[in-house]
Amino acid sequence: MHQLETAVTAPLNKAAPGKAKKKLVRRLSEQKYLLMMLAPAIIWAVLFAYLPIAGVYMAFVDYQPSLDDFWKSLYHADYVGMHWFNYFFRNGDFYIIMRNTIASTMLTLLFSFPAPIIIAIAINEVKNSMFKKTVQTVSYLPHFISWVIAANIIVTVLSSDGIVNSILKWLHLTDESTLFLQKGQYFWWIVAIGNTWKEMGYSSIIYLAAISSVNMELYEAAKVDGAGRLKQILYITLPHLKPTIVVLLILSLGGVLNAGFDQHYLLGNGLNREYSDVLSTYSFRYGLQNSLFSYASAVGLFNSVVAFILVVFVNFASKKLNNQSLF
């Protein structure tokens, strides 16, 4: 394959431009069906990924919606440079939005990161395959429902006569129902636990796969040495999972600014906004509800750029780490 590639590209560099052109035309005609099959994807990427990226120019102008075509009004809009970014950084919202975004994602990580590891280890220790299968099947289910349904469930469970309040009353921890979603201070916890509830089962698949590659003889040997089940987990299973855990932890740190839009928007309301407003919902509200398009684009662009840098950095870090652990 490599040979073929060099054979095709090498003459391109050395030969006369006319010859190279001919070569290109020949390749194009040879690959016309391949390119035809790729065409829908290219058109999709241009229209729905790259045109919006070009559209972020909105963040640097004072865009006013008009009856004109979008590009035309964008072209005629006044250039304002970094005005919207400065405005965002300087007004009081910035602190609150960043606080909410990071608090929500970090708190989510605190619960949703260890949960699948514990579940995978617990499932692995179960011998009864019927029980194992049932728990697995049911625990994956929340992953496949939409956040709309999940939000409906959460709202129901947390309502004044919902199950959570009933349990709290039954345990005599409280006499009166707490309206959890109307008190901002509970919001991050609700999102964190909701995220964990939705994803813990499904995320355990990857750890179960890693566990399944442990050599069974290790456990047999440990048993002979008199190690109990807990010791086997601590000294065999967990160390075996360590590389997976480290890589996934690093990668998930890259998502610290990506507080999901769905859960914050759907569970957020006027009463908990002080705590529920994150970068994506803030941008949504200012853009599509208050029609401050340029400001909202600037907030969105800030989010995308920082998130992108984080992802690149985190990928780099995990690669570096992987190589080290290999040698």
Binding site: M1, E5, L24, R27, Q31, Y33, L34, M37, L38, P40, A41, I42, W44, A45, L47, F48, A49, Y50, L51, P52, I53, G55, V56, F70, W71, I119, A122, E125, F131, V135, T137, S139, Y140, P142, F144, I145, S146, I149, A151, N152, I153, V155, D161, I163, S166, L181, W197, I205, I206, A209, G228, R229, N269, S283, G287, L288, F293, A296, S297, S304
Partner: protein
């Protein structure tokens, strides 16, 4: 292997089973709770204390929503977008994957990066909205199909699969004079059925679950999906709108007692049940899917 179990092993097992039983209850019970309330008599539900079983069983809430045009239309739109959108996406992704599996493709490296980049960086909510609008997709059924046509991650799954197919099949077809299009249609596509089934399920569930596109890109009631209608009901419930949609619907059915609350539960159930129904049968495909992705990354 008739070994005597030590006490600590027994304690461990009991704790472990109890823990997993708790996980089972935590994941399962909320769905059950919603189902119970949706099946219980609405006036009776107000008394509260409905936990395990409907006290007064009735299908009134379901009967009400299935007599409501808005909800029926939304179910139709959701089914349509799933049935139309899924095969189109699967085909587009498979063609793309086949094309990009050929390293000798012109500008292969550039094209690959061109697509991968879209996974990590986007223009954001507002510019995307503007583009959708300038393309005339607002209030069009195709806004459900085209913006989400390609999933680059799914394409990588398919491409990995294609790269693992034996090359001889393709080569012998080439010797017989078949062109790339014929090879794709007659050899690659049939061989890819397992992986295509996997991604079709992902895409199909994605269509069924998606609410955002219908919620912001469509205004016409005849283009609202089930999930978008549910968002509206949820919003009204959250803001405590006195005469909510669900409440109005409940009031409209004079003879049978239903409440906004029981309607909300019933709609939630209608949106959930299809997934619960198909999902146990297709679960292994999902597991296969996530495993393929894990190995890749």
């Amino acid at each position: 292997m008739a070994k005597k179990l030590s006490l600590s092993d027994i304690v461990f097992d009991v704790c472990n089973y109890a823990f997993l039983a708790l996980i089972f209850v935590i994941t399962f019970y909320p769905f059950w709770n919603i189902l119970v309330v949706s099946l219980n008599d609405a006036t009776d539900s107000v008394r509260g204390g409905l936990y395990l079983w409907p006290r007064i069983f009735t299908l009134d809430s379901y009967a009400t929503i299935f007599r409501n045009t808005e909800l029926l239309v939304s179910v139709k739109v959701t089914v349509l977008r799933t049935l139309i959108g899924t095969p189109i996406s699967v085909l587009a992704i498979c063609m793309m994957a086949y094309s990009l599996s050929k390293r000798e493709l012109i500008a292969w490296r550039f094209l690959t990066l061109f697509f991968i980049f879209t996974m990590y960086f986007g223009g954001g909510l507002i510019p995307t909205y503007m583009i959708i609008k300038s393309l005339g997709l607002i209030d069009s059924f195709w806004v459900f199909i085209f913006p989400g046509l390609i999933g680059v991650f799914l394409m990588i799954l398919v491409r990995t699969y294609i790269e693992g197919l034996p090359a001889e099949l393709e080569e012998s077809a080439k010797i017989d004079g078949a062109n790339d299009l014929e090879i794709f249609a007659k050899i690659i596509l049939p061989l890819c059925i397992p992986v295509l089934a996997t991604i079709a399920l992902f895409i199909g569930i994605g269509h069924w679950n998606s609410w955002y596109d219908s919620y912001i890109y469509t205004y016409k009631p005849e283009l609202k999906t089930l999930q978008a209608v549910l968002v509206k009901i949820l919003n009204q419930f959250q803001t405590g709108t006195m005469v909510s949609e669900a409440q109005a619907l409940a009031n409209s059915s004079k003879r049978i007692p239903v409440s906004g609350e029981s309607i909300r539960m019933a709609v939630t159930m209608v949106a959930t049940i299809p997934i619960v129904m198909v999902y146990p049968f297709v679960q292994r495909y999902f597991v296969k899917g996530i495993m393929m992705g894990a190995i890749k990354s």
